[in-house]
Symmetry: C2
Amino acid sequence: MLDAAAERLVAQGYTATTLREIAADIGIKAGSIYHHFESKEDLFIEVFSRGIEVMVDAFVDVDTAMNGCDRESDRLEAHVRAHLGALFEHGSFTAAHVTAFFTAPEEIRSAIVPLRDDYEHRWNALLADVLPELDSARLPIARLFLFGAMNTTIEWFDPTGDLSLDGLANLITVQFLEGVHALNLQRSTR
Amino acid sequence: MLDAAAERLVAQGYTATTLREIAADIGIKAGSIYHHFESKEDLFIEVFSRGIEVMVDAFVDVDTAMNGCDRESDRLEAHVRAHLGALFEHGSFTAAHVTAFFTAPEEIRSAIVPLRDDYEHRWNALLADVLPELDSARLPIARLFLFGAMNTTIEWFDPTGDLSLDGLANLITVQFLEGVHALNLQRSTR
DNA sequence: GCACCTACCTAACGTTTGTTAGGTTCGCGG
DNA sequence: CCGCGAACCTAACAAACGTTAGGTAGGTGC
């Protein structure tokens, strides 16, 4: 049922997604949803939360697996790969979060923001490790650049096509790292 | 009235935006909208179309102004600046298009896609000029990277803050160009 | 066998939505 | 002064929405 809700979210956004539709998708009636959730809001708060949960879990897994890694760029690439994996390989929750979060009403968003902040902080810490030369004020902007590159892939990337998720992760990581590197050079030689 | 519709779109998405709200915003009643448009669909097709119009106009302006420019990177930066200008300086149409296009129903989207394709083709041609060494199969992907970087700025960039639109355009352009350059090096030395 | 809980259904409620038919106001051209 | 069209309003329509009250079937524990 949460799965069905997530898939509808991806396809239609929040307001266009009906409880009656979700119920029909899993073969029950709309009223029965209220046995499991108090309201439509409640249901979708759970869906969005799981979307972040999947991302955080993937992040933590990489963090422990890459513990003794000395090449920082490899560590970053592994995390990019994990984020893309959350988007394309672990159900629709993360995809629903990325595409439909901003279509949800304010009350839902504000309930989710603390979880989002947690995930963003993990990335900030990671980027501070990988790019120690980067001005700390520029760090959130760099993160937003990277998030933009990763999250927009959901609008065009086809996991069954020529380019693999590994390849895409490498593409994004290299492009990002070299871009940031070039920006630092430009600033210091001015 | 189109302005009001665009602003509501940015704030709430398609389905959550009511004809009664739009009417109230401009001081008329909902039924009166049908004197100017045949339906809600019709109204928002016009809004989304103008969003692209603003972008295309900005693109064409730069194209003619930068006609005799020999430094390709400057040409690209000017176009990036123009795209960001369309997003932040020319009303809410382009912003509405970028944020709310995917919240609109299929029938609206398919009516807009040809216009989108036109804009995307202009960028493909531009990138082919600026990056002649880039594999033509990789070109649409590079464009999507760049679009991702530019369009997600709408979720975090504050035009009244420390960073100017010119500065942001430079940031994005350098980051993009050096990233693509690095990718080509990596591929040719493998 | 009785009580109880979980999971679901039926049927309706009040509200909101896009939409429409018919009427009013106002300004311009002849 | 008359006619006409543009711009708007009123009032209502059917449909769809989230939500709720009350009821039913089946399983579990004692």
